[in-house]
Amino acid sequence: MANLGAWVSEQRRTYFDNAGMVREYRTQLRGIKAPLFLVFYSGLFVMMASLFYFGIAFISNQSIAGTQQQLAFFYNVVVGMLEFLVALVAPVLAASSIIGEYQRQSIDLLFSSPVGPKYFLVGKLIASYRYVLLLLVLSLPVAAMCVVLGGATWKDVLSTYLLVSLHGLVYMAISIPIAVMTAKAVPAVMWSYLAGFLYFLVSFSTMIPAMRPGGFNNSAPPLMGLSPASSSISGRLSTEIFGVSVPLWVPAAVIVLLFVRLMILGAGSALTQAGSKETFNLRVTGLVLCFVVPLLTGLAMGGSSRVAFGATGNELATMVWWFTFPFFIFLPYLSTWAGSGGSKFLPNGWWRMKFTLRGTPGSGLPYLTCLLIALTIGSAIGTASSGIMGPLSFVYAFGIFALWALAWALGWAASSIVWRSGIESCRRLHVLFLFLVFVLPGIFLSILEGLTLSQGMNLPAGWSEKLNLSTFVMNDMNEAWYKIVIICVLAVLVWFFAERKRRQAVESMRQLA
C-alpha cells in the first residue's frame, strides 16, 4: 500500500507538478515573440481557410448535394491544413526545448539532481503539447465555421481535433530521442521532419483495408486513426474490437501513448548508464508494442466480421512488414558495441539472455528474438479467427528474424571494424552497411528492371523482386524460404567474421586496462 502511495505521488509529481513543465509555462509566452507568432498563425489560418471557402462559394449553379459535398471537402481541407501545421510546428517545439538544455549546458545540472530522464523529458513533452493544443484551440473558430455551414458536426470536430493532437504528440515524441541523440538544433529538426514524414508514410498503411473495393462495412480498421492522412474521416468512424464498437480515437490513443512511452524511454535510456530502469522499461514497452500492434492489425483484417475487407495474407504481411520496418532505425542501438561510453557499450558476448532487458551489446540478438516472438504471437492471436495467415505467418516470422539477424550481424561487423573510434562511429558504419545491403540493391534492381523494360527485353515477370533479398513474395512460399536460407547463411558468415574480431578487441581492451 505504501508502495502504491509512493507510486501515485511520483506520477503526480511527474505529470502534474513537473518543475520543468512549470518553468516552460512561465517562459513560453514571455516576451513579444510568442504572441506575435500566435497572431500570425491565426491570421494565416483564417486567411487560407477563407480563400478556399470563397473559392467554393462562388461556384454558381450547384446542386444541394454538390454544395454539401463541397462543404465536406472544405472541412477536410481545414483538417488537412491543421495536420500540416501541427507536423510543421510540433517537432520544432519539442526538439528545440531539449536542444536548448544542451546549448546552455544546463542538462548536467538537471542530471546531477534527484530526477530521472523521464521526469525531465515528460516535462518537455507536456509543455510542448500544451503549445500545440493552444494552436489547435486558436483554429477552432475556423472549424466551427464548418459546423455552422454543415460540413461537420461538433462531435466530428472534437474527435478529429483529438486525433490531430495525438498526431502532434507522435511528432513530438519522435523528435525527443532524436534531439537527445543529436544534441544539435539543425540536425535534430531535420531528422525529426524526416522521421515524421516516415511516420506519415508508415501510418498510411493502416488505411489499406479501407481502400479496398467496397471499403469497409460499419467497422473501420482499428489503427486507421493513427494516419494523419485520414483524420477528417477517422474522426467520424468507429471500429469493432472483440465485438465492441469503439471510436477510432480510442485504439489510436492507446497506440500513441505506448509509442510516446517508447520514445521517452528510448531517449531516457540514451541518457542513462548501463542497467537503468529506463532501459528495462524501454525494452518491455518495445515488446508490448510488438505484441499489440500486429494483434490489432490482425483483428482488423482477420476477424470474421471483417471478411468484407477481402484481405489476403499478402496484405497482412505487407502491413506487418511496415510496422516492423521502423525497428531497423533502432538496430544500430541494439547491435553495436565499442570500448567507450561506459559499461553500457562494452562487448560483453554476442548472446546474453540474462541481459536481454538490461541493454548491453550482448543482449541485442536475444532481445530481437523476443520482439519477434511477441510479434508472431500478436499476429497469430489477431488473425486466429479467420486463419487468413495460416503457415504464412510462420514463414513471415522467420523472414523477419532472418533480416533482423543479418542486420544485427552487420552491426557486430561494423563495431569490430571501428570500435576504437567510439560507439558513434560504429553506429554510422552500421547505418552505411544497412543501406548498402538492404536499400541499395533494391534501387539498383529497380533501375535495371526499368532499363530492361525500355529495351524491350523479355525477362520473367518480377525477376528483380526475386533477386532482392529484402522483399518477400509471400504468395510463393518456396521463394520466401530460399531467401530466408540465404539471408541466414549470410548472417552467420558476417557474424563469424565479426565475432572473431570482437574477441581480439576484448583481449586488447583487457591489455590496455
Binding site: 512549470v22 514571455r30 516576451g31 546552455r104 549546458q105 548536467d108 545540472l109 534527484p114 561506459g342 576504437r420
Partner: protein
Amino acid sequence: MLEVKGLRKAFGPLVAVEGVSFTLQPGDIFGFIGSNGAGKTTTIRMLATLLEPDSGSAQLNGIDIRQDPMAVRKLIGYMPDHFGLYEDIKVWEYLDFFAAVYRVPKGERAGIIENVLELVGLTTKRDAFASTLSKGMQQRLSLARCLVHDPSLLLLDEPASGLDPRARAELKELITELGAMGKMVIVSSHILPELADFCNAVGIIEKGRLITHGRVEDVVRGIQKNRAIEVRMIDRVPEAGMFLHGKPNISATRVIGPNTLKVDFTGEPNDLAGLLKSLVDGGYLVTGFVEKVENLEDVFLKITTGAVQ
C-alpha cells in the same frame, strides 16, 4: 563524510582517472589541483553521478554513488565550470525550479529561496532576469542553486574562472562560510595561491592519478624535505656559512645575497632555536632569521611534470 576509494574511469584506450582515493570530513574544504586534462573534472563528474566509474567506489554519508545515485544526488550540490543559466527566467523562478527538482516541499520553497539569496548577497536581484546579472552574480546564483536543498557535499568545478578579483574574493569568502557551516566542499581550480587561502585539504592530480593529498601543511611539508632558513646578517656572511658547515641538522649552506645566507636545515623547531643561539654565540650579528615555507604553487610545480592525458 566522503570516502573515495580507487575511482577509475577510462574512455576507450584513454584512462582519464586511475585509483583516486581520499577522505573528507564535514567542514573540509578540499582543493583539487591539476593541469587541464589531468582528470579533475572527470573525478568531480563521477562524484556528481554524471559519469559511471569503471571501478572503485565513493560513499557519501554511507551511500554508494554507484548503487544509489538518486540518494547521493539529494546530498550533493554540483556547480560545473559553466553556469547553465536559463536566460528567460527570473532569479527566484530559477531557484524555485531547482528547489522543486530537488523535492523541496512547496510551502518551504519561498523561505529557502530568501535565505540562500541572502547568503549569496542577491536579495535585491530576486526579480531580475538571470541574463541581466553580471558574471560574478551569475556565479553566486549558481552557488545559491546548489544550496537550495541544503546538501552535505558541494562540488565546485573551477568556480573562480573568469571572475574579476572582487568577485573571486567574495566567492572565496562564501566558500569559507560554507565550510564553517559544516559542509564538505570540493573546489577545483588553477588559481593555487587562492586555494591555499581557504582550503584546509588539497589533492594534486596528474595524468589521472592523485599524486598527493592531505592537509595543506602536511602536503607542503611532505614535499619540502628540508627547512629552508634565511639568515640575514650585518656582515661576515661567507664566514658564517663555513661556521655552520658540518654542524648537526645542517645539510647545506649557500650565500644568496650580500647579507643573506640560506641554510638547509633538517631538524625540528627546537633545534632551530639552537641554531640561532649558536650563530649569536659565535659573534655573528644576526638581523633576521626566517623559515621560508613553500607555497602550494611551489609544491605543485615541483611534483608535477605538466603532462596531460
